[in-house]
């Protein structure tokens, strides 16, 4: 059977506010358990929530970035269930009246096509604490540092049709929230987590199949793998004439499989109702418009500008604008060298290669944009050639200093003195008299093939420093005799 996969994603984005969604406690990763808490986060009797207006501003920013309707009146609701790391016995979230309503994103796929993914809503909610099962001799430890940390839950329509498209969509959301500066985007620390709703249906069928929900997948790679695995699992069941059970599943990256967590029958009735401790959040048009007016440049806008302002290809512009950090690096380096094409090639080439090799983010590149730009200046002004530049860059990466210092210390400056080059060529010709004879006897076509040998010898003798632009014509002339 030819199956069509239907995917909808819920992305939990941790907003990078200084304090929590409903308390003044600091937000941070890795602090001692239960040190970043107030009475509110601990769910103490009589403690009351106070809404963090910074989270509101961030949510409205996001709404604008995905072309969404902004909820002019949004309402916090309580989602009631018992769990030890949920201190109040309910999570304060938004149900009927979210802060961000319907919107969409145009997602660029690898093959260059664009697909529109609808976004149903995005709502603010508080995170729960953490249950720690290790180191407690069979008991469970509770850490409430994360309790009441602000989350923006972004819910997509079931518009996604492949694992690649899902990943492209999540990457785009990641890029938007980091561009807006409303999330640090650190997936390993849980700043972005994804729930995947997935079902299959025979191609051409209109009705959706029964879906499963894979909870809390926290890397691009795992999202892709979890989707492939779940598609395979569901297809196997359906092809054997079986039935998919609506349930929540967990992706295990080590075994690359999804496992059942709980079925629909065990699902909680969350008894949502408006939180009586918080007033409805009512926005003015002025507030919403002000945020729109001060929105930073978004990835798609930046890509367009890179094409028009820097004459980059669409592909280069998209790659360079895919993350704010990379775009900033590109622009800062280009400000030094003022050669967008050269900068783009080097950022996407050598820099990306070394970052990938060492699995580093561009923010953590040992060579900063300024130093990188200075290296490119030396290529542009012919002080070094491209090949030498790669060695210089490696030395800079290894912490040996600035481009100029390395060029100076290693004597890598190109030889551009015609006399010196002529002398060097003469030595090569003298040492290879037989080849020179052959060359001179050959026809023009053969000569073209043979000249590479002499160029190679010259470059070797000059340790790569001879300017190839000068070597070629002089060599041709001297070979003629």
């Amino acid at each position: 059977m030819n199956w069509e996969v239907v995917i909808g994603l819920e992305i939990h984005t941790q907003l990078s506010t200084k304090s929590k969604l409903f308390s003044g406690a600091a937000v941070g990763f890795g602090a001692e358990p239960n040190t970043q808490t107030t009475l509110v986060d601990l769910g103490m009797p009589g403690a009351l929530p106070v809404f963090n207006k910074e989270a509101l501003r961030m949510a409205v920013m996001f709404g604008h970035a995905i072309n969404a309707e902004i909820g002019m009146t949004s309402v916090f609701a309580r989602k009631n269930y018992f769990y030890p790391d949920l201190p109040k016995g309910y999570q304060t979230s938004q149900m009927d009246h979210p802060i961000v309503g319907k919107g969409y994103l145009d997602v660029m796929l690898d093959d260059g096509t664009t697909s529109r993914v609808g976004i149903t809503r995005a709502h603010l909610e508080e995170d729960a604490g953490k249950s720690l099962h290790e180191d407690f001799q069979g008991m469970t430890g509770i850490d409430l540092n994360r309790s009441s940390t602000p989350l923006l839950e972004i819910v997509s329509e079931p518009d996604i049709r492949s694992a690649k498209e899902a990943v492209a969509y999540v990457k785009m959301i990641h890029s938007i929230v980091t561009y807006l500066g409303i999330c640090d985007g650190n997936m390993a620390e849980g700043s972005m987590r994804c729930d995947i709703n997935l079902s299959l249906r025979p191609k051409g069928q209109k009705e959706y199949g029964t879906r499963t929900e894979i909870k809390n997948v926290n890397s691009f790679r795992f999202i892709e793998k979890a989707i492939y695995t779940e598609i395979e699992r569901q297809a196997d069941i359906l092809e054997d004439g079986g039935r998919i059970i609506q349930e929540t599943r967990l992706y295990d990256p080590e075994k690359n499989e999804t496992r059942s967590m709980r079925s629909k029958e065990d699902a909680n009735d969350y008894r949502y109702f408006p939180c009586p401790d918080l007033l409805p959040v009512v926005l003015t048009q002025e507030y919403v418009d002000n945020i729109k007016a001060t929105l930073p440049e978004l990835p798609s806008q930046k890509a367009a500008r890179f094409q028009s302002e820097h004459a980059l290809s669409e592909y280069d512009a998209n790659v360079l604008s895919s993350s704010r950090a990379m775009a900033d690096f590109f622009e800062n380096a280009n400000n030094v060298v003022k050669d967008p094409k050269l900068t783009a090639n080097w950022v996407m080439g050598e820099l990306s290669k070394l970052l990938n090799q060492e699995q580093l983010d561009i923010e953590n590149s040992p060579v900063n944009a300024q130093a990188f730009g200075e290296l490119l200046v030396r290529i542009k002004d012919n002080t070094i050639n491209g090949k030498t530049a790669k060695d210089v860059f490696q030395a800079m990466w290894d912490g040996e200093g600035s481009a100029d210092a390395i060029i100076e210390a290693k004597g890598l400056k190109q030889v551009t003195d015609t006399g010196a080059i002529e002398a060097m060529i003469q030595t090569i010709l003298d040492a290879n008299a037989a080849q020179v004879e052959q060359y001179r006897a050959a026809d023009e076509d053969k000569q073209k093939k043979m000249i590479g040998f002499f160029v190679g010898q010259v470059m070797k003798a000059s340790q790569g420093k001879a300017n190839p632009g000068l070597v070629n014509p002089i060599l041709a002339k001297m070979l003629k005799g």
Partner: protein
């Protein structure tokens, strides 16, 4: 000394006729002697009281302080008090000592008042008789076989018996006004949002409101002066300055328009209670007020509406009592579910469990629209009734409760009869307006309270009306016999 007003006591303290330590000792001695008959206190914080009294004396010595400085007060045991046991009348919190202070008790403390202790109450403020306390029922000082009303029954009984000058209470459906009526004292339920709920253990968040209880309206005004005002820690707190509640107590009542809702005088109202209320209304006419019959047509719907909304909120508010972080935890839990179910089954009393179940049901999928949403619609109708009526009249008067205090145990087997007790008080909470209970006479030897309801944020007006009435009557000055025995 125990019968004197805050103004008089404040004067005596200032004149050094008596020190706060002496006054505090006097009240502590009265509690020790009389409270075994009443059970109005859960905790007597003698040490804290004497320390605060000494501090108050020092402050007064330097000529500083407010009218509350050095005055002994009591707090309903659902206001969190730092370092002092706060039980909410429940086994669930039998061991709960908060590491923080509620805004209300903190403000009263800052005004220099002395905290004698924490008063008994219906468990989690759920009840109209104070029989639902883990710490035992409270008795009415006017007749020890009668209930004091609830849920702020401990505060009301303590004031009536002269065990505290004034006390805090909270009112979710009548919990200040009904015990005030039953015990013959004055109580004010302020406009929702006027008094901070921070540190007040929640029963039904959209209805709960703290307020003052005292012998007289003037004393209530003194306490209200300290309690009221915006609090950034409570998002539902009204962001507008509090009035001066003492400034207009003596304004004349000439031209005051009083509305009497016909629904408050229909079937179910004890005729002797009705007589007392009508006599009080006559007194207001003598003071220059005019009286007009009005209608609050949705009064009957207030009971079903309240008994959906309040339990719904309670079912969620009380989820935090799970045995994990504080309060009662069962012995030797087998697993998580066992810990939850046994801790809660052991920690909560019958009435609390009943309301949690009712609220859980009302919020459940498939029932939410029929119960919770419908109750909210009725709530809007009730509010509109009041808004409309208060366009025609300045205040609305009627009884607080259909009867005087009833016998201990007489209604415990009939919960519906118990719920009907609140018919005249619930709608005020649903609308969010302020209302008072003012002692207006006696029926068969038991006190009767007149209810005075006003527009949003009209607390100063209500206190003025009650004060003027009390300048011309002495019902609020009556003292039960048992209180005179010490």
């Amino acid at each position: 000394m125990f019968e004197q007003s805050i103004s008089t006591l404040a004067q005596k303290l200032r004149n050094k006729d008596i020190s706060s330590v002496e006054l505090t000792r006097l009240f502590l001695a009265r509690i020790a002697k009389l409270d075994p008959q009443l059970n109005s206190f859960i905790t007597v914080s003698e040490q804290r009281a004497l320390e605060q009294a000494a501090a108050a004396d020092a402050l007064l010595q330097s000529g500083k302080g407010t009218s509350l400085t050095g005055i002994p007060v009591a707090h309903k045991d659902l206001f969190c008090t730092e370092g002092t046991l706060t039980t909410c009348g429940s086994k669930m919190l039998h061991n709960f000592v908060p590491p923080y202070e509620s805004t209300v008790t903190s403000r009263i403390q800052q005004a220099g008042a002395v905290m004698l202790g924490k008063t008994n109450m219906d468990e989690f403020a759920m009840g109209s008789s104070n029989e639902n306390s883990f710490y035992g029922a409270v008795r009415n000082p006017w007749n020890l076989d009668m209930v004091p009303g609830g849920s702020s029954g401990g505060s009301a009984a303590a004031i009536a018996a002269g065990l505290a000058v004034t006390a805090t209470g909270t009112d979710t459906g009548g919990s200040i006004r009904q015990p005030a009526s039953f015990c013959g004292i004055t109580g004010l339920k302020p406009t929702y949002g006027r008094v901070s709920r921070f540190g007040m253990i929640a029963y039904a968040s959209s209805l709960d409101q703290g307020g003052p209880m005292a012998k007289s309206a003037e004393d209530c005004a003194h306490l209200m002066q300290a309690m009221a005002g915006f609090d950034e820690k409570d998002s539902t707190s009204a962001d507008k300055p509090a009035d001066d509640y003492l400034a207009n107590l003596n304004a004349p009542l000439t031209g005051l328009k009083i509305g009497l809702p016909k629904e408050y005088f229909g079937e179910g109202l004890d005729s002797k209670v009705a007589d007392v209320i009508m006599a009080a209304v006559k007194e207001f006419e003598k003071l220059g007020a005019t009286v007009k019959e009005i209608s609050l047509p949705n009064l009957q719907l207030s009971i079903p509406s309240y008994y959906v909304i309040a339990p719904s909120e309670a079912s969620s508010n009380l989820s935090r009592f799970d045995g994990v972080r504080f309060g009662h935890r069962c012995d030797d839990p087998k697993d998580l579910l066992d810990m939850y179910t046994r801790s809660r089954a052991e920690g909560f009393g019958t009435e609390v469990q009943k309301r949690i179940m009712v609220g859980t049901y009302a919020l459940s999928e498939g029932y939410y629209d029929a119960y919770y949403l419908k109750a909210q619609k009725i709530r809007r109708l009730i509010k509109e009734d009041f808004v409309k009526a208060l366009e025609e009249v300045d205040v609305i008067m009627g009884p607080v409760a259909p009867t005087t205090a009833f016998g201990l145990g007489s209604k415990t087997s009939d919960p519906v009869a118990m719920y009907l007790e609140d018919i005249y008080t619930l709608s005020v909470n649903l609308a969010g307006i302020p209302a008072m209970s003012v002692p207006a006479g006696f029926a068969d030897g038991m006190p009767v309270g007149l209810q005075v309801m006003g527009n949003y944020f009209a607390e100063a007006k209500l206190l003025n009306i009650a004060h003027q009435y009390q300048q011309h009557t002495d019902w609020h000055l009556q003292t039960p016999t048992m209180a005179k025995g010490a």
